[in-house]
Point group: C2
Chain length 144, copies 2
DNA sequence: CCGGAATTGTTAGTTACCTAACATATAATA
DNA sequence: TATTATATGTTAGGTAACTAACAATTCCGG
């Protein structure tokens, strides 16, 4: 009954470290790591002319609805985003970046780029590919 | 300025999923995932006749001192552990498992074993080794 | 068209994590 | 020895996650 690897525990440990580092990377834009990730999703969607609803954040971040509500409420209070209803479905709340936030983005994305580069320093492309493909499998295993 | 892989973000996403699954695994012992991990550390130390102090939890879980304090306070209140000072250093608090907790352990460890096995289902040993070695590198990168 | 099922979001209450500031105790050094 | 630095733990206040229960809307089958 020996657990050979403790993979799950190690993923959690790494994630705690990564979250702290991401928080630091977002810090001088005056926001948190999660907030930066939400802004990333919004920026990406804007490029492709797509609307973003809370459900999308839920899926992309793999957190619960109620957690999304909490994060977005804080972001709205800080003026980072605005939310408005759409005509064709009264349940949905469309999320939009404010003008002030747009000004943050370049510097923020740069810092996050640096964060990601620093994270994977010293790992070969081949190993990184394996790493990401394993992440996908584990992720799928958790969703069933 | 394209981030090629978004490895950090993906690690966080996976970790959120893993934490939920671990919480469910620990649930029918009446405890949370973190609490189960703390008990694991204590059980392991006991096998090797080693004392465990809060600093050790901090290092093994890679969370801040104040977070350790919080987790252990809750565990103490629930009667899962006790804490006592040692004669040779007044700063240290030794952490011990209570008798009631010992009764939980077999079933708990079994459920966590199942959780870990389910997590890595479908991943080859070779890829898992690569995965873990990459985790080690990323972890080190975050500590500098 | 109507009633139950599914979808989307919120609220309330809890746990786990964080930083900053603090309190003590021990170790190191001048 | 006295002072400073390091180590360990706590408190206070905040953010991010969770579950459970709820509310409202839309979808779908009879």
């Amino acid at each position: 009954m020996e657990t050979k690897y403790d993979v799950g525990k190690k993923v959690i440990i790494l994630s705690n470290q990564v979250k702290r580092s991401l928080d630091r990377a977002a810090e001088d834009s005056g926001i948190t790591g999660v907030q930066a990730r939400v802004l990333g999703i919004l920026a990406e969607a804007q490029k492709n002319n797509r609307d973003v609803f809370q459900k999308d954040i839920e899926e992309k971040l793999q957190i619960r609805r109620s957690s999304v509500t909490g994060v977005l409420q804080l972001m709205e209070k800080k003026g980072l985003i605005s939310r408005e209803s759409v005509s064709y479905d009264a349940r949905l709340k469309k999320i939009m970046i404010t003008k002030e936030t747009k000004k943050l983005e370049d510097h923020l994305h740069e810092n996050i780029y640096i964060f990601e580069q620093n994270l994977i320093k010293g790992v070969s492309n081949k190993d990184l590919d394996t790493f990401l493909s394993v992440i996908n499998i584990l992720s799928r295993n958790m969703n069933v």
